[in-house]
Symmetry: C2
Subunit: 138 residues, 2 copies
Amino acid sequence: MLSIGDLSKRTGVKVPTIRYYEQMGLLAAAERSEGNQRRYERQDLERLAFIRHARDLGLDISAIRELIALSQHPHQPCGDVDRIAGDHLVSVREKIEKLKKLEQELERIVSHCNGDHAIEDCYVIRSLSDHGLCDGEH
Amino acid sequence: MLSIGDLSKRTGVKVPTIRYYEQMGLLAAAERSEGNQRRYERQDLERLAFIRHARDLGLDISAIRELIALSQHPHQPCGDVDRIAGDHLVSVREKIEKLKKLEQELERIVSHCNGDHAIEDCYVIRSLSDHGLCDGEH
DNA sequence: TATGTATCTCCAGAGACTATAGGTTTGGAG
DNA sequence: CTCCAAACCTATAGTCTCTGGAGATACATA
């Protein structure tokens, strides 16, 4: 039996965050000690690892809740699961595209600025003021 | 003189967001009509475009506040401006790297799942449960 | 037993908005 | 000029995913 602190150390998830996940219904309410402290088992450790992993991948709480619910009906076909992960893949790719454009623009902006001319001539400020100086759209 | 709604339409920034920016000190408190409604000029339109543009690039409110303050001392050298944009470029690059890892992992996960087998055998669920199945770190 | 660390609950805050409620002003049609 | 709908005002609360603190209780060790 693990305390909430043990669970926290083993998963890298902070203690208040574990309680938050419980409150959000991602973790089942843990058993309690006589003194009302949460006690966890290996199963909870795996569940929390699942949650952490899914969060790292950028899935939001409701998507994770959905996946957990689906995983508890193991004999249904997994189309929904596939859809959730697939949808997320699409949004990750979109984010990457956007950030790449930003990177290019920031590079361009910064490269014109060597830090030793006056602000009134600074390309950073001018670029931010005037979208027309941008190469692409964003 | 533009109303807040006009300003909103011209910049694509929602009305409550404009008021929020004023509250956060990014926009100066606007002049008011006799009936206490905000009235804007071209100058404000440019300022708001600056803010919108910087936000689109992912700069946060405090960075933008800093840039605005700097831009009001146009005869100082622009080293700080350069630093703010450069720092941001670094963080954008880091985000891109992380997202690319996620993309790879999601691709791998989804490619194993054709949607018609049972959830108990589903690679998505198993991958999320067991970090050990991942290729890289994240 | 005493002490120090860990845990409990509840509540507030962060960041960047967004939405609602209830009241006032504006601008155009009749 | 009057009327009405749309736009505006303020103030407040909610979103999402945590994170941190206060004050009280439990546990582990010397």
